[in-house]
């Protein structure tokens, strides 16, 4: 029995490991496996050292962090809203981040550390501000009804999105830059971006990882959960904040990567059932794997050009998801 419980973890870790190896091995420049090994143990040529340590590895790590953040916050949102359509962007993180990024892009920043950090920072802050606005609008007294939250989220999101489009049309700057970001093209390489988002991700993910039991209780409905001894208002606020924090940090450097946060939790639910204590960590691990595979496709399919990864996740992810949905014998899994 214990062994059976471990199977999903073991296999999803194996898949993640495979995805990481693939992500390190495949790029637009071919480096032989032997050379990769030599480089990783510090005996590689200067060029492959540069490519592996400074380009591919930071990218791989950023993709892992983004994918896992989207996976786990997607699962949390779906549990929190008891809604299969919920994804990490439901209540405004993506549209808010997009607005902030485009505002920051419309300004000519000096070429300096903070000038270069302006876009991710603005995206992060406006994403959180948007969620806060939605939350404030939806609140009635001490409670925040789910329906209010979703409706306010949709309305505020479309407002922010149209403002973003307006700014993009108005700006004389290169539109491809904004468009690329909105489709999940990361704007900056290297280890700095990873160190910048890591604290937020660690805090948010830790909170979410221990929220499995609370999310299970919330599935009975707010009243039932309250009777079972859960402080519903505070729990929901905590999960919402943690999930938003994680998503905002993830998109600030990677851009808006759609679909991962919606699909991965569903795939996991079909696989292991609806127990959030397992769903959350598995969505985290598999979110990373899925995004890694998508990223590998994004960099080889048109090499040496690279596609924004968000295009790949939706283009390859949607048909795959529909196929799984059709094949799934357990249609009533939700």
């Amino acid at each position: 029995m214990i062994f059976m419980r471990r199977v999903p973890y073991l296999s999803s870790f194996t898949i993640l490991l495979f995805a990481v190896l693939l992500s390190i091995a495949i790029g637009s420049v071919f480096i032989s496996p032997a050379e990769i090994w030599n480089t990783l143990i510090g005996r590689g040529a200067e060029i492959s050292t540069s490519i592996l340590w400074k380009i591919r590895l930071p990218r791989t790590v950023l993709v892992i962090l983004t994918g896992s953040a989207l996976g786990i916050s997607g699962a949390s949102y779906q549990g929190l809203f008891r809604n299969p359509l919920a994804d990490p962007f439901l209540i405004g993180v993506a549209s808010g981040a997009g607005l902030g990024a485009v505002i920051a892009m419309s300004v000519q920043w000096p070429y300096s550390f903070w000038g270069l950090m302006a876009i991710p920072l603005a995206a992060f802050i406006t994403a959180l501000l948007t969620v806060f606005t939605v939350y404030t609008i939806a609140r009635i007294g001490h409670t925040v009804p789910t329906t209010n939250l979703i409706l306010a989220g949709v309305a505020v999101s479309s407002f922010a999105t149209s403002l973003t489009s307006f700014l993009m049309l108005r700006s004389s700057d290169e539109m491809r830059r904004a468009l690329g970001w909105l489709m999940g093209g990361s704007i900056q390489n290297g280890w700095t971006s990873i160190l910048a988002i890591l604290p937020f991700l660690l805090i948010g993910m830790s909170v979410l990882l221990v929220s499995g039991h609370a999310l299970n209780l919330l599935q009975f409905g707010d009243d039932q959960a309250q009777q079972l001894g859960l402080n519903v208002t505070r729990t929901r606020a905590t999960i919402l904040i943690a999930a938003s924090l994680v998503t905002a940090a993830a998109v600030s450097f990677s851009g808006i990567v759609g679909f991962v946060g919606l699909v991965v939790p569903h795939l996991m639910r079909m696989w292991v059932g609806a127990d959030y204590r397992r769903l959350l960590p598995l969505s985290l691990i598999s979110g990373a794997s899925v995004l890694l595979f998508a990223d590998v496709i994004a960099r080889v399919v048109l090499a040496p050009q690279e596609l924004p990864v968000g295009i790949v996740t939706a283009l390859a992810g949607a048909p795959f998801f529909l196929w799984v949905l059709r094949r799934s014998k357990n249609q009533g899994y939700w």
Partner: protein, 318 residues
């Protein structure tokens, strides 16, 4: 218990994966290569780029990656075509440039790996490229020069000089001939009193409000220099959609189609509803215009000027 251990392990793995190599990366400050080494011979070549960075080279660059079509055209024009080892996906002029290896970029994303693998001693970026790509390449130890867009022909000559300096080519002859050609146009335009009203269409996908070019763009500069008046000059912003009504009221006597390559034809423009009252349509003065000439800030801006002057004042330039 098992699950808790697993979570902690996972977090630890993520943390280590992120931090370990980061320490490695900070130990070797790659940017040091860009500045001239203190105490040694000062670099031979030094220039301030469009981002205010001082870029120094010991010797002229011999392995150059160009990140914009205009840069590629500049490099070939100054005679540094043989030194170009990489180009962006959209660089298609001159013909020889197409044979050079592409490093991506038409979706905004370059393959950093491909650039590094070419081992360039100079990466020539332009305002088309986001500052982030400059930072990324700089952090990888590459020397990047960010060429600002010219706002006048004098800026263009200055850019040519800079490219010549960085690549070790004398550009006096090139600049002299470009200046002579611009002066020749100026001299023919100067005595003319009539300034035809010109509409330059960037994109007429939506014929009710086609995209045109506002003040301060290369196209605006060229129309003025060629002795015309740009309808879009009254618009706000460099690229904007103009209302069809506004256009009919402005009544341009010449229409230039920058979107002719994308399926817009003289006939389709003439057939647009309400446009039959425009002088240019009545006189059949609608001409396709190669958008690469007018929107790439390279040496072919002079070709664009000559072409435009010929279209605007057909009697004078025969």
């Amino acid at each position: 218990m098992f699950r808790k251990t697993l979570f902690l392990t996972l977090l630890l793995v993520l943390f280590l994966a992120a931090c370990g190599p980061a320490v490695l990366a900070t130990e070797a400050p790659a940017t040091a290569i860009v500045e001239s080494p203190v105490g040694e011979m000062p670099a031979e070549i030094s220039a301030v780029d469009g981002l205010g960075r001082t870029v120094a080279l010991d010797t002229p660059a011999t392995q150059i990656v160009s990140l914009a079509p205009s840069n590629t055209e500049l490099l070939y024009a100054v005679g540094a075509g043989d030194q170009v080892v990489g180009r962006d996906e959209l660089s298609d002029y001159p013909e020889e440039a197409k044979a050079v290896e592409s490093v991506g970029g038409s979706m905004g994303d370059f393959s950093t790996e491909a650039i590094v693998a070419l081992e360039p001693d100079l990466v020539l970026a332009s305002e088309l490229n986001a500052p982030e790509i400059v930072k990324t390449l700089e952090d990888l130890g590459l020397i990047v020069y960010y060429l600002p867009n010219p706002k006048s022909f004098d800026d263009l000559y200055r850019n040519i000089e800079t490219v010549g300096l960085l690549t070790g080519h004398d550009v006096t002859d090139l600049n002299d001939s470009l200046k002579a050609r611009v002066t020749a146009v100026d001299e023919k335009i100067a005595p003319l009193s009539a300034r035809p009203v010109v509409f330059y269409e960037l994109d007429g996908t939506d014929p009710l409000k086609p995209w045109t070019t506002g003040p301060g763009t290369f196209v605006d500069l060229l129309i003025n220099r060629a002795g015309g008046f740009n309808v879009g000059a009254s618009l706000e912003g460099e690229w904007a959609q103009i209302s069809s009504e506004e256009l009919v009221a402005a009544n341009p006597s010449i229409i230039l189609l920058g979107d002719a390559l994308y399926g817009v034809t003289v006939e389709s423009v003439a057939a647009r509803s309400g446009w039959d009252s425009i002088t240019a349509v009545q006189n059949n003065a609608i001409y396709p215009f190669n958008p690469d000439l007018a929107t790439r800030p390279g040496p072919r801006l002079v070709d664009a000027l000559e072409e435009m002057a010929r279209l605007l004042h057909p009697g004078v330039f025969e």
